[in-house]
């Protein structure tokens, strides 16, 4: 026959207490440890006055230029030490550079068969006279796609942090002082009227000539962005918003990136399976050559131009 314990005896055993702790009926701390509530830290007036007095004493005694000899010595030494530090840094950096192998040395680690393949059959396979453009937009097009993505993400982040909606911006600009700024400068406006089309055309020329001469999407896009910034600076934000506002910006950026992705995807699948792609390589040296390079250049150029202008507008006034 099993012996069942009485309730009072059972309550004194360890297993009862263990099972009670597991089930959570009784909190082991409440009632045994006393905790006081925390009150806010009160700073007494005496300590405040003492700190202010100490601060004033520091300013009076230590920063007293006339009587503090250590300070004047430090100021003189600081200039000499700054110049010496710059010279030493330059010297050590140049010393390190002199240890690098000469460019083009046959024993360099980057002179392997990849570079040779690019140089030897670059013109034939890509159709671009400028090997660098041909390489980054056909052989390494995926890396360039990643870079374009980075530009997109950068503007999105800046928009998250800095962008304010149009209503608050208009209220702010009315309350701001409008007098005395360099605003509506007639000389600048006349100059911008003649120069902005020139700059935009030059930017388009650099983009379209990516495969024939140094340039390509990135620098051409930067020039386009510079032209837009000049226009916005000379005439103000309202005339610029007539043709480049947030809607145009959104459409241009997203469609440029998506088109790059689609063209790249098509080309990767065709090229990897050695199928003939529909964009011909053309005669090297002409504008319509280089196969895939021209459409990708246009996409990248649009992307970079929108990025440049968006950074300027977002940092200056908080909205596009």
């Amino acid at each position: 026959m099993s012996k069942l314990k009485q309730t009072q005896d059972y309550e004194k055993t360890a297993s009862f207490k263990f099972f009670r702790w597991i089930s959570g009926e009784k909190d082991p701390y409440i009632g045994t440890i006393e905790m006081q509530e925390q009150s806010e830290h009160q700073v007494e007036d005496d300590t405040i006055t003492e700190r202010m007095w100490e601060k004033q004493m520091i300013i009076d005694e230590i920063y007293d230029v006339d009587h503090n000899r250590i300070l004047t010595k430090f100021h003189k030494l600081y200039k000499i030490a700054a110049v010496l530090f710059c010279v030493a840094l330059t010297f050590f950096l140049l010393l390190t550079v002199s240890y690098l192998p000469r460019t083009g040395n046959a024993a360099n680690p980057d002179n392997n068969e990849v570079a040779q393949r690019y140089i030897e059959s670059g013109l034939q396979e890509t159709g671009a006279v400028n090997i660098v453009s041909g390489m980054i937009l056909t052989y390494r097009a995926f890396d360039t796609f990643g870079e374009t993505n980075v530009l997109f993400i950068a503007t999105v982040c800046v928009m998250i942090l800095l962008m304010v909606d149009e209503k608050t911006l208009e209220e702010r600009s009315e309350a701001r002082l409008n007098s005395g700024r360099i605003k509506d400068d007639i000389i600048l406006q006349m100059t911008a009227k003649f120069l902005v089309p020139f700059i935009l055309i030059f930017g388009i020329y650099v983009i379209l000539n990516g495969q024939n001469s140094p340039g390509g999407g990135f620098s051409g896009g930067a020039i386009l962005g510079a032209g837009l910034i000049l226009y916005a600076n000379a005439f103000g934000i309202k005339p610029t918003q007539r043709f480049f506002n947030e809607k145009v910006y959104r459409i241009a950026k997203v469609s440029a990136l998506c088109m790059y992705g689609c063209i790249g995807l098509y080309y990767y699948t065709m090229g990897a399976n050695h199928l003939a792609d529909h964009i011909p390589n053309g005669i090297p040296g002409h504008i319509l050559s280089g196969g895939i390079i021209l459409p990708i250049d246009i996409c990248v150029g649009l992307e970079v131009a929108c990025t440049m202008y968006a950074f300027y507008a977002l940092f200056k006034r908080g909205g596009l």
Binding site: L177, R181, I182, G215, A226, I229
Partner: protein
Amino acid sequence: MTKEALELIYSNIYYVVLIVLALMLFVCLVRAIRGPRIADRIVAVNMMGTMVMVGIAVLSLLLKEGFLVDICLIYAMISFLAVIVITKIYVREYIKEHQKEVEEDEHH
């Protein structure tokens, strides 16, 4: 005069021009550091940009690559744009601070 002698003369002229331009750049830089006002520094940097443009054009003829003059044009555009933006921003900030000081003086 043979062709090689002519090439040698041209190369030497270009090297001399480049060295002289580099020295003048350094002198401009000293002016940019020393100038007491902001406008001094902007003027000095503009001058440095102009000398660099001549240097780029000389380099394009020295290396016989015709497309480097594109870079010259881009540099001119970007330096012009930089001057415009800097002046506008500085004048605006200065006037904002000035207005604040005038208002504070009026309050006191």
